[in-house]
Amino acid sequence: MTAPLQTPLPSSIADLLGLDPNSTVGLFVAALLGAGLIATVMLSLTAVLGIWGKRKITAAFTDRIAVNRHGPYGLLIIPADAVRLLSKELIVPAKVDRPAWDLAPLIIASSALLGFAVIPMGNGLHIADPEIGLAFVFATASIASLGLLMAGYASNNKFSFLGGLRAVAQNLAYEIPLVVTGASVVLFTGSLQMSEIVAAQQGTLVGPIPQWFAFVNPFAFVLFMIANLAEVGRNPFDIPEAPTEIVAGYQTEYSSVYFVLIYLGEFIHIFLGGAIIATIFLGGPAGPVLPGIVWFMIKMVSVYLFTQWARSALPRVRVDQLIQIGWKGMLVLSFANLVLTAIIVGVISA
């Protein structure tokens, strides 16, 4: 069985508003609205999970209660925190390198959001479905490294500087295994198009187990999860921030709105990592009974929960160990995985 390729979100919006989906203007307006919708969903999710959920989750891991006085379940901490963070003074340290210093938070936040443009979230929530979808999402996600380097370098602070350099070294070392492991999925599907990748995971493998690539190639899945932890900078790979070593790394000098942007960017980046994993390894929006978008969110948030779990439980590796694991371990394993997958795919198709 193959899933019917759904109409992209901009077209459905154009239909809804009576715009002509074939005219440039109509499509542009509809696409803008669609992008706004997706961005709003992601930002709201970040607000809930980043401000409230993170507190609750970490508290659950560490035997605490966390926020419970601000409204039901402490949920009103979200507006309270938003007001608090936005009303703080934006301190611009002397001799920061502007405008690089101002652009960095924007780049960090927007690059992650950009990736969601090609993610199929189910129920027609899919802005664009280009043929190079997977390449696009990796490309946008890695723009964040530029933002981290800019933040670290422009802050005129030695801790920021160290953090920025660590971030770049880490992203270099782990993005290659990430992309190469992603490529092993492409070998199965024969396409970089996200809808094709999701479609290729329909059906079942053995018995009731779905034909998700996480089950088809668990080795690639584990590799990808580990590389993803490093990519989003969470334990045991949170060394670009490493609060007990280099204060807060590249974000040391950021306050107020800029801090919020960086924080948002970090969380959206984690969600984007979750979205990629959900799409290429966990069947995207596929799942029984519940609507596709719900399944998609469940899968994405599960990955987020996993990062929080790692953060609560695992020690942080040292920077040289991180680089070693990346270049000597992950890279070799990911290429081995690619070659093996290629052989297996070749044998099957032959």
Binding site: D63, L162, T244, P315, R316, R318, D320
Partner: protein
């Protein structure tokens, strides 16, 4: 060691002055020959008076010939007619073998040969003596102020200190301390100030660090941000009651009763006060409760340093430490500043109903093995944790001894030194427990020592609880008779140490016949332990330095006093 001939006499036999029943000071006096000017009688040991220009030759002989490998403390003080530095020497193998080397120097121009070439630990101790008392140490590698700011004027513990004069001058009037830094234009290294406000410095510690990439090329701890004149305050309090609250404020990480015991032991030995056995058992129990609380916080903050600030281990350890705190609160009425010991005993008996107290303590002890296992699961058996801590921050035993390291830091370097066993006090020698040592010499070994010491402390507490439960009701004397005003003999001098949470916590006191000590000197274990940080971390990565600092488990309140 392996090069030694097997039939040579053991170290203890070859040391001058060692006899079967203690130390033969006459033999030591013969060793020094005519370098010995005079012999004084201190309460804890004899004091050998020597010339200020023969410090090194005397100390070298005492270290190499007589086996005094531990320079526990350097006390400096001013008399009406002279300045005096006292080097309190001990042996790591046998801390009851003590000797005080007394070095007088002239009033008008106090100069002294430095002991730093003999004992590395003298570096900081002599800097402190120079800073507070004003004695100059010739041949010292780096005689600068240590506790007070560079711009301080005068020496506050010397007699000619005029407090009406400005004590600190502005940087402009003083040589600018920022002028000489490591930021040369062509240098390949980077200078970073880690602290005094930094998440990993465990307080207001300032590490002047030179980085070569991510590696530490040079690190120098800059202390004194929390200096509160504790010694001076103790000199202004009466022995009987006014000094006891201060020790709580040295190592304030719940080690209060251990600190109080240091003062209690010194003052009781000085004034010849007996402590009832029942009170000794209570002291032993409460002190070990404090040790558990202190070690748990040490493990917890070490997890913060290595795992990051969202680690569950920290909260788990704090959760378990909370139960110790509750027991101590029930016992002493306080959670932090206990002020529970009194000269000659303790402040009050166990809380009524006693059964509830015993039950609460037993419940805690019953759950403890499970909790410790949890820390082992989360920390010591975690492979990433081992990757991070094994063979990092290495402190070889010889270096540790030279720097006067004690406590878990020394025991993590395989030095079998624990005053509770080697120089027994309280009720420790009646109880069944072990001294924990690890041979790893690294960050991992130090953490392991602390976790295992918690188990030993639990054993001690369990036996104390058993004893207290069966203690006959009419023999529960919590305090002996102590005069309302205590005036020890004039010119009585004593140096006494106990095993605090961080190591050997010693007190030197000199009496002038009044009800207040004429000199009160604190030998802080953290002060000596912190000196080893450069040895551990130079050449290693920043994260390892942070981990080493965490594994030293310093409390700045005790370092700076």
């Amino acid at each position: 060691m392996s090069l030694e001939e097997p039939d040579l006499p053991t170290a203890a036999e070859s040391e001058v002055g060692v006899t079967d029943d203690g130390l033969d000071y006459d033999a030591l006096a013969d060793l020094l020959g005519d370098r010995l000017l005079d012999r004084e009688e201190h309460v804890n040991a004899e004091g050998f008076v020597i010339r200020p220009d023969q410090v090194q030759s005397v100390l070298f002989d005492l270290r190499d010939e007589a086996g005094f490998d531990h320079c526990s403390c350097v006390t400096a003080q001013e008399y009406d007619d002279r300045y005096e530095s006292i080097y309190h020497l001990k042996k790591y193998d046998e801390p009851t073998h003590e000797l005080s080397v007394v070095v007088p120097s002239p009033k008008d121009d106090p100069h002294n040969e430095s002991a730093e070439p003999v004992y590395r630990t003298a570096d900081w101790h002599e800097r402190e003596a120079y800073d507070l008392v004003g004695i100059e140490y010739d041949d010292h590698p780096d005689l600068r102020r240590i506790l007070l700011p560079e711009t301080w004027q005068g020496h506050p513990l010397s007699g000619d200190d005029d407090q009406t004069e400005p004590q600190i001058v502005t940087l402009r009037e003083h040589a600018n301390p920022l002028a000489d830094d490591h930021r040369a234009d062509d240098a390949e290294t980077m200078f970073v100030n880690i602290g005094p406000h930094h998440p990993a410095t465990h307080g207001v510690l300032h590490l002047e660090t030179v980085l070569d990439g991510e590696q530490v090329a040079h690190v120098e701890p800059d202390i004194g941000y929390l200096h509160r004149c504790e010694e001076q305050m103790c000199q202004q309090g009466t022995y009987r009651h006014q000094i006891m609250p201060y020790p709580d404020r040295w190592d304030y990480i719940s080690a209060g009763i251990l600190n109080e015991w240091a003062y209690a032991r010194a003052a009781e030995d000085m004034a010849d006060i007996e402590v009832p056995e029942y009170a000794q058992v209570i002291r032993t129990m409460s002190a070990e409760l404090c040790r558990i609380a202190a070690h748990m916080l040490a493990a917890a903050t070490f997890a913060l340093d290595v795992n990051g600030d969202f680690t569950a281990t920290f909260m788990y350890a704090i959760r378990d430490r909370e139960r110790v705190q509750n027991i101590l609160e029930d016992l002493t009425g306080q959670r932090l500043m206990f002020n529970y010991l009194r000269l000659g005993g303790v402040a009050w008996d166990l809380p009524e109903p006693r059964e509830d107290f015993f039950e609460q303590t037993r419940d805690f002890l019953d759950d403890l093995p499970g909790n410790i296992q949890e820390y082992h699961n989360l920390l010591t058996s975690n492979e990433i944790f081992q990757m991070r801590t094994v063979d990092t921050g290495v402190l070889p035993p010889e270096e540790a001894k030279s720097y006067g390291a004690t406590g878990p830091v020394a025991r993590g370097s395989g030095i079998d030194y624990d005053l509770r066993r080697d120089d027994p006090y309280g009720y420790y020698d009646e109880l069944d427990w072990d001294v924990v040592t690890e041979d790893g010499c690294d960050n991992y070994a130090r953490v392991l020592v602390r976790l295992r010491e918690v188990e030993q402390s639990a054993r001690i507490i369990e036996q104390c609880v058993d004893l207290l439960e069966d203690w006959p009701e009419d023999e529960r004397t919590i305090q002996s008779n102590v005069p309302r005003t205590l005036r020890p003999d004039p010119d009585a001098e004593i140096y006494r140490a106990v095993e605090g949470a961080k190591g050997e916590l010693g007190i030197y006191m000199r009496s002038d016949g009044t009800d207040k000590p004429a000199r009160f000197k604190i030998r802080s274990p953290c002060f000596s332990n912190l000196q080893t940080l450069p040895v551990m971390s130079e050449g290693e990565y920043i994260p390892d330095m942070i981990a080493s600092l965490g594994s030293l488990d310093i409390v700045l309140g005790e370092v700076d006093r």
